[in-house]
């Protein structure tokens, strides 16, 4: 495996500064999750985001970081068809030697901690209004200890997906500078697994007729969350381009421009689609479109031209509202935050677009192999782990808890105590 090229002092200082902005992406997603949930679960949703961030960070730092490894570092490898397949990193346990490690390794660890926190928060948004806090934290611990490290090693830590280029002449190997796969697709697939296991909110899918609309309670949170997420995503994609795509400093402005163009293209497309379909633009679907553009940019912003970034965003923006509708109306998947469509499907599209528009020959096949790995291996693995967890620590709150709201049930008080919560007709 090729070791990581050392960063210049200027690049190091830039990335460190960017990491101070990257948590805004997490804040944005937390606000979006809260706003798209119901008012009687708002405090539990936001507290859950904080708790999940904390649990994921600690579990990853203590356990998961061991398995991520780094290009050129020690790892577990087997030989197949005469080629080395690095399937698991072998770093020191419990942050051993971190104090004396190279500053660049510490910087990469910080990026990975932020990444795992964001990935672990995505299923929480999909389980809004019915998932217990303790089960959400346990799911985050599983993702941080097992699933994220595996994926991150394969893609960022010099694992077999990253080596597809060296070993099999597939472009530059599977590329994912901003975490479209390791963060967004992983979180989206986790959301799908959680929604499948926990089931829909009570009254969402009645025996007869269409599904009941349970709109988010605060569009301002959702849209402000989108603006916060933009700042975080710009930082995230630029830092990821330096760390994982080894982009020179001169290429970073274009990465930022592509990020912005991709999300802009997506929101314009969603605006148009919802205007045409419903006669008026839909705020929450436009927010979903914006986020899907950001997610798609995570994969391709550092690799493609601005025109390709706009095209990627446009497709993401067209597909996302249709997928949200398809999941809810046709497939009976109750996903309040839209994480499956936005982060799961948006991330997969971004990875595919990176393969389509990247200049290297064979890059498309490398990206397709990565997508096949995420869908064919990671999704069943997450489903299995969440299913086992659900046997020990059920995700779903009892029906009484769901009726009175997660705030009162789990926290003993609501997020908006001075407001009267109206009786919900669906519980009659």
């Amino acid at each position: 495996m090729t070791p990581i090229p050392p960063l210049s002092d200027a690049a190091f200082a830039l990335i460190l500064a960017l990491f101070l902005l990257a948590p805004l992406a997490i804040a944005g997603v937390a606000l979006i999750n809260t706003g798209l949930g119901r008012s009687r679960s708002a405090a539990q949703s936001l507290l859950g985001s904080l708790a999940i961030l904390a649990v994921a960070a600690i579990v990853f730092a203590l356990i998961g970081a061991t398995f991520v490894g780094a290009p050129g570092a020690a790892g577990h490898t087997f030989q197949l068809a005469g080629k080395p397949w690095s399937w698991l990193g072998a770093g020191p346990w419990l942050l051993g030697g971190l104090n004396t490690a190279a500053a660049q390794s510490q910087l990469t660890l910080l990026f990975e901690i932020l990444a795992v926190a964001l990935a672990a928060m995505l299923p929480w948004g999909s389980g809004a209004d019915r998932c217990r806090l303790i089960a959400g934290c346990a799911a985050a611990a599983i993702l941080a200890a097992l699933v994220f490290p595996l994926t991150a090693h394969w893609i960022w830590g010099g694992g077999w997906l990253a080596q597809l280029g060296v070993n099999f002449q597939l472009g530059a190997g599977f590329l994912d500078g901003g975490g479209a796969a390791t963060v967004n697709v992983l979180g989206g697939l986790g959301a799908l697994a959680l929604v499948w296991i926990a089931g829909p909110r009570r009254g969402k899918f009645p025996k007869e007729g269409l599904s009941t609309a349970l709109p988010g309670h605060n569009a301002v949170y959702v849209l402000f969350g989108c603006l916060l997420a933009l700042v975080g995503w710009l930082a995230w994609n630029v830092a990821g381009a330096v760390l994982f795509l080894h982009a020179p400093l001169s290429a970073l402005p274009m990465t930022a421009v592509n990020t912005l163009l991709c999300s802009a293209g997506a929101v314009v497309a969603t605006f148009a689609v919802t205007q045409i379909r419903f006669g008026k633009p839909d705020a929450s679907l436009c927010a979903n479109g914006w986020m899907a553009g950001l997610v798609a940019s995570s994969a391709c912003a550092g690799l493609v031209t601005p025109l390709a970034a706009i095209f990627t965003g446009l497709i993401a923006g067209i597909v996302t509202p249709l997928l949200v509708e398809l999941f809810e109306l046709a497939l009976s998947i109750d996903d309040p935050s839209g994480a499956i469509a936005v982060h799961g499907a948006g991330g997969l599209w971004g990875l595919l677009a990176a393969g389509l528009f990247a200049p290297q020959a064979g890059q498309l096949v490398a990206q397709l192999v990565g997508i096949a790995t995420l869908l064919g291996l990671i999704l069943p693995l997450v489903c299995l782990l969440f299913w086992l967890l659900n046997r020990v620590l059920p995700f779903r709150v009892d029906s009484d808890g769901e009726r009175i709201g997660m705030d009162l049930h789990e926290l003993g008080g609501g997020a908006y105590p001075e407001f009267v919560i109206h009786r919900d007709e669906s519980y009659r």
Partner: protein, 60 residues
């Protein structure tokens, strides 16, 4: 049925890996990777249909 679909999906993954290992030429390699993805898509469809049937039975 949901779990049967999820069990089919790794088969698609292994098909994609086999394509990378067995076909050095770009065209058949890409074709078989696509086949692997198609198998995964079928598994996902079966899993989703299983989910829908399960929900239909549980609806109050």
């Amino acid at each position: 049925m949901k779990y049967a679909g999820l069990l089919v999906m790794p088969a698609g993954f292994f098909l994609s890996i086999a394509a990378v290992l067995l076909f050095p030429a770009p065209a058949p390699r890409a074709a078989f990777v696509f086949c692997g993805l198609a198998v995964e898509a079928m598994g996902l469809v079966v899993a989703v249909r299983g989910h829908m049937e399960e929900l239909r039975e549980k609806r109050p």
